[in-house]
Symmetry: D2
Subunit: 131 residues, 4 copies
């Protein structure tokens, strides 16, 4: 599982450019990590929502595509809770809530090193069986 998740991740140029790294992968669950850099700050000087989303979305997409069938995101919801500083290491853990024949639902929690929740995310995929 971890091998498959790793080979998917290296093919995700957007995630690789953000420095997202695979930590763990098992049935329906994936953990990835990312260090907050200067390039991830917004015009308010804070951690960019786009970078937080991308980290959560990466864990979600990997978890949804581990099983083998092609799973494309159709809906995402992100709650932004706490800020994150440059240099901080963030971890995103995705877990499968449900997976049917054509729809799958996943949840991701992003935390800082001190365990504080930075954001949490819900994502739905549309599954094309056999692809």
């Amino acid at each position: 599982m971890k091998e498959r998740a790793g080979s998917l991740l290296v093919a995700d140029r957007y995630a690789i450019n953000l420095g997202i790294r695979l930590i763990e992968a098992g049935p329906g669950t994936v953990t990835v990590a990312m260090s907050v850099t200067e390039a991830m700050t917004n015009f308010l000087g804070g951690f960019h929502g786009g970078a937080l989303f991308s980290l959560a979305d990466c864990a979600f997409s990997l978890a949804a595509n581990l099983a083998g069938d092609r799973a494309v995101a159709i809906d995402t919801h992100l709650v932004l809770i706490s800020p994150a500083e440059v240099g901080e290491e963030l971890t995103a853990v995705a877990e499968e809530v449900h997976r049917g024949r054509t729809l799958g639902s996943y949840r991701v929690v992003v935390t800082r090193g001190d365990g504080r929740v930075v954001g949490h995310f819900t994502g739905t995929v549309f599954i094309t069986p056999g692809v």
Copy 2:
């Protein structure tokens, strides 16, 4: 308004790295554009949800911060509708649905050149008056 939006955008390193450009800004509304590049593809070979989110989020953040008070995103919802190909030009138009003293609600629609909706987005900001 456009001048203020422009000066906010150039300070947003994440958005600038994605090549997001300001098209228009008025009271409660901002239009930005972005060209889809190879670096925005995911491991399925499609347009990355993280890039789509970042474009919508940029229009939203600019629209919410045009008025002057510091407005930080607390909730975002993105519906992903249609794919987008490398080379395509996407436009995101943000509009204010409501702005109170401490909360503001915005909506963004992202379209391709042919007018097709790629995704639509809803975002809420928490406003700190006078900052």
Copy 3:
């Protein structure tokens, strides 16, 4: 269209119990109305989120099922903006953002008589063609 929307609505016991009434229906769009009653208050004495959701959801479901194919809600997002008082008349207008073969996306805005937005809603349906 209005006739079909009306016959769907009368078969929706939950909506009928809330006193939801059909105002208008056209291609991809439905308008319904509801009066806020004492039975729609929550323990804080305010207008119940469940009643607001149900009004928006009703407009969404009718709009998504007007075309004939069975369309079942799979995702909903509701932003709660302003309160509503007992006796007030609320109007919900649903509009189609996109309708594909198996997925449809709709948006609903709920307003008071004075035009103020009470809440806005985004909903996705899964469509079973030919049912």
Copy 4:
């Protein structure tokens, strides 16, 4: 905690009319239950999204108001997963993800008696301290 949750619930006319009952309450968590009735069916003959939302919303609102300060819902997201039949008993468990000074984030999972997930929900409250 359970006593306070119970006294809030009896003051929630909308929830009481749906037959929602308190099962458990502790710090940041509330469990409520509801039996699916004929009055909760929609025009497709399925379990009404408005009833599912109301059950989840009830657990969320109680959990967010247990601490004493007035907490009003500002954002809700509901993923609808599996149907539920008339006569089935549904359980909604709300858990606090984060609670700051002015914002709180909660998650609710609604299950059937056989443990299957019917839907899951994310809600944000705006807190007015001391009220």
